[in-house]
Point group: C2
Chain length 207, copies 2
């Protein structure tokens, strides 16, 4: 079975336990086998309405929430999480809070690459390589560290405060990198795909 999670920059495929990624501009709408997908990319989603073999799972997902207009990627990531904080760290970083299988709300941060780019555009002096080994418990003493701290520390501080002693489930391109900063962080690159798989089984959607 082939699954696909379509974002703003990339589409990620999952098949036989393997993850592959293609850029949106290289996405092919031809497939000779069923592809179960979700998409936050409106234009590609529109094109896929007429594409043979592409099955949109969005109508089947359900999430107990009062959040208006939550993206299907976040719904899928939260699906099946009873308690904890769900973090999808990609182009943007979405943070969603689940308690007793109810979605309590969530917020969005720019992704790490987007923030580095924002710094670069503010001033050439702020164009730095991220110091991934940055010490978050000491005040930075040079620009590269001040910028790296300014990117990573807010992400970690906010999520830790919200999670408290509950688990933090991380997925997305930067999920693995961020997971190391949490004592109760669980990195799961297949979080969304396992939700899609479970939904297909539960709803008997498999062709």
């Amino acid at each position: 079975m082939k699954l696909c999670d379509i974002g703003n920059t990339n589409a990620t495929f999952y098949e036989n336990g393997k993850i592959t990624r293609v850029k949106i501009e290289n996405f092919s709408t031809d497939s000779n086998q069923p592809v179960y997908f979700i998409s936050v990319n409106d234009s590609l989603k529109e094109r896929l309405k007429n594409a043979k073999n592409f099955i949109d799972l969005e109508p089947y997902f359900e999430l107990d929430t009062i959040y208006q207009g939550i993206g299907i990627d976040r719904i899928a990531a939260c699906y099946g999480i009873k308690d904890g904080v769900v973090v999808d760290a990609g182009s943007a970083i979405t943070v969603d809070i689940m308690a007793n299988s109810i979605h309590l709300g969530g917020y969005i941060l720019p992704g790490i690459a987007a923030t580095l780019k924002a710094f670069e555009e503010i001033s050439p002096r702020l164009k730095v390589v991220l110091n991934s080994q940055i010490e978050l418990e000491a005040f930075p003493q040079k620009t590269a560290d001040a910028v790296s701290y300014g990117i990573i520390k807010p992400i970690i501080t906010l999520i830790s405060a919200i999670a408290y002693d509950k688990s933090v489930y991380l997925t997305g391109g930067d999920g693995e990198f961020l997971a190391r900063f949490f004592k109760n962080g669980i990195c799961d690159k297949t979080l969304v795909f396992r939700s899609m798989q479970r939904l297909i089984n539960e709803k008997g959607l498999h062709k």
Copy 2:
């Protein structure tokens, strides 16, 4: 006496208690009176080396710090602050920690406008108007709030944690807006200029 704080986007002038601002591209290097300035803008600073009547105050400022390459705008903002957190919220947001007149370090965040732009570039869905009345103690329940919370909450949370019960001195274009979120926030749009004025008096630089 005319003072000038030159940034990456704007140059801010201070004269007779009045603040005026010009875009860098409209900056005139002609002046028939002395202009005491500091500049983080390298190219404009270079041009001013040969400009008559422009006096660079950078060589006269001193700050007790081990921070490497701290911008002169941050040095000037911290100058004369004994204890507290100094926040300059402009194109970038610099945060510096002073204790017993010693600079303990600092970090940098992208400014509010830069972060909104970063969101917009990630996805058209994330192009929102900042909700300046955002409730920071409740989880957001719609995209505009999720983005606004994602911009404001990290700024406030980090600074509050560092400041604890000490004062937070805010300056820069967004200083007034951010000040309202701190119980011990002091907005001072003339912070840098008062430092420059004091330096000129202390060092007897006035022509």
